[in-house]
Amino acid sequence: MSASTARALDLVSCHSCMKLTEQDLQVCPRCGSDLHPRKADSLNRTMALLITSCLLYIPANLLPIMVTEQFGRTSENTIISGVLVLIKNGSIPIAAIIFFASVVIPLGKLAILFYLCWTVKFGSKISSRQRTLTYRVTETVGKWSMIDVFVVAILAALVHLGGILSVHPGEAGLAFAGVVVLTMLAAKSFDPRLIWDRDVLTNE
């Protein structure tokens, strides 16, 4: 098992062009990127970004994401209250999509990445293959949480009839976009090969 990884043979795979080279090289001979056997300082960076996005997720949910102005009356909606309004109006499928994109995906992503960092340190009963697959899914699904911010931006541009009816974006939009960007960065700085390194260690 251990003999079939690049690290076991003292080789490095370039993160940019995938070229396999000697471990003592600093720069990839094909594409010129810096070579690292693993992503630099992966766990610390991932954890730092995860904690920041957790903090930012609080204002993203407490502040209004959308302000509606109708005949001089203004009503503010947070992400959750927006979902509840949609349910009350009977738009269950849309409420489900928004809830999934703005609550389930970001929270699930945070939980999974925290868990993966933890298993790299302390091991896990779940197989490395399964955990790598979970990581890949988290990484691809991440940007879909931007849906709600996009919907608000579109509504703000579209529903604009002066004092009669208009929609304005709320402060939570920026906080939420921050959560999405930070969790995407966290997923990118996590190195799934660390999951497998532990297998190699325990097998030896």
């Binding site: 990884t5 003292d10 396999l20 490395s128 911010v149 996009f150 931006a153 541009a157 604009h160 960007v181």
Partner: protein, 217 residues
């Protein structure tokens, strides 16, 4: 594809058909791959490489069409909204401009990047790279562009935005009249061409081509 093997370490270095999986670091032998094949890692299932047939020509075609559709999508009415006798017509850049006017310049820049600027940059780079590699005109900038295009790709949210548009349509459709404009359809076509352009440009295939050109030149 990508079978496990016991190999002499010295056989590996400088032989481009051996790669290590970026997900799990296990080595894979891609020497038996032919055009049209795709290879996945036998340990973790990660997709390693797709050798597209006439890949570069397709990338040229899809990226140039996507650029034209994006230009169209930015120049005509996107959606129009009608309620109580009043009408508001919106263009695609208006989504960004309105945020900017509402004192949210940071969010405006972020969204402009995700839905227009980054995709446009990715397409220009892809078109440039595909033509350079297809006609064998390698220069030192090719490396920089190729590294950059794969880093940028992950930050385009074209398809996410399009689903957002569809949700807005359904959300407002009950209470007001929404009419889709020319740009709406142009953006739909742009999304499809964009996705075909980026999936048609395989990382390993592109870098191997660059490697060939480096050795030749």
């Amino acid at each position: 594809m990508g079978s496990q093997m016991h190999i002499n370490r010295d056989d590996l270095v400088g032989r481009d058909h051996f790669i290590a999986c970026p997900s799990c670091d296990h080595l894979a032998d891609l020497s038996s791959m032919a055009e049209g094949d795709r290879a996945s890692c036998s340990h973790c299932g990660h997709l390693l490489c797709v050798l597209h047939r006439a890949g570069l020509n397709r990338v040229m075609a899809w990226s140039s069409s996507a650029l034209i559709f994006l230009l169209l999508a930015c120049s005509f009415p996107f959606l129009s909204f009608e309620s109580s006798g009043l009408k508001n017509v919106m263009t695609l850049p208006m989504t960004v401009v309105r945020l900017y006017q509402q004192d949210m310049p940071d969010l405006a820049i972020l969204i402009a990047g995700f839905i227009i600027l980054i995709p446009a940059m990715v397409l220009l780079l892809l078109f440039n790279l595909a033509t350079t590699l297809a006609y064998g005109r390698y220069n030192p900038w090719t490396n920089v562009m190729c590294r950059f295009v794969f880093q940028l790709q992950g930050w385009s949210m074209v398809e996410v935005f399009f689903i957002g548009v569809l949700i807005s349509l359904v959300k407002l459709g009950k209470t007001a009249t929404i009419v889709t404009g020319l740009s709406f359809w142009a953006y739909a076509a742009f999304s499809i061409c964009f996705i075909l352009a980026i999936t048609g440009f395989d990382r390993l295939q592109a870098w191997r081509r660059i490697g060939e050109l480096q050795e030749a030149g």
